[in-house]
Subunit: 123 residues, 2 copies
Amino acid sequence: MHAHDHSLCPVYDSIELLQEKWVLHIIRALLGAPHGFNELARAVGGVNTTTLAARLDRLEREGIVSKTIESTMPPRTRYELTDAGVALQGVIEAIDAWAREHMRRCQADAVATAAPEPTVASH
Amino acid sequence: MHAHDHSLCPVYDSIELLQEKWVLHIIRALLGAPHGFNELARAVGGVNTTTLAARLDRLEREGIVSKTIESTMPPRTRYELTDAGVALQGVIEAIDAWAREHMRRCQADAVATAAPEPTVASH
DNA sequence: GGTGAGCGCTTGAGATTGTCAAGCGGTCTA
DNA sequence: TAGACCGCTTGACAATCTCAAGCGCTCACC
């Protein structure tokens, strides 16, 4: 692996973390509410369980997500954001704002003005 | 591949775009100033030229980066952010803010928090 | 005037990362 | 008693990213 000079810059490291595939999607989903494993997979939409497991593992080690086993049998787990995780709301909101402004793509904005909530994930 | 319901959500699409490896790094570098190709590679630190070329190509097609050929011989090109690209500053700033706050990593700050073990809820 | 370093990329081969399908043991709903 | 769902894991495969090298060319230097 490369050990470039940038690696002591926290911003660089954060980007490194956040750009892993599905990470931002996962955080966005979790900002809405805690989720179980398969439930989260569905909320995110398109991840396969292998990758999801790997991401959650990393995010937990990084202190962004916390995992609570509510019961082993029947299996029930809860993934939710830690304080550090919730703090990423600012990032998601910034993306959200940019998207609405510059990402018209296929749609004229469909659902505008429904929620008094500040922008976070809704399906 | 997947034609999920999510794919008409601009936020989902934006995340898809921004999480491609090196994209955020590239934008961050370009927020500082326009760059030539190799110069940009150095500023980003760690990208290889193959990937960088692919990213710039995509970002240009998405209208985030603009490429200006200043001279073909000697070769000199300038990559810079479009208005839509500059608008991503908010995203980078949000990441920046989060990083400073929650990305201790190398710092002797790792006291409380950071619980690797899944906490088991009993009720 | 010849050497070397720089420019903006591209190529083909290899390493890394992400995906798919299937499945384990179990419980809960019908 | 059948089926759907739970939280994952495995092993085989595909997509993505990386490496080293190099093309044609110009410039700064000795």
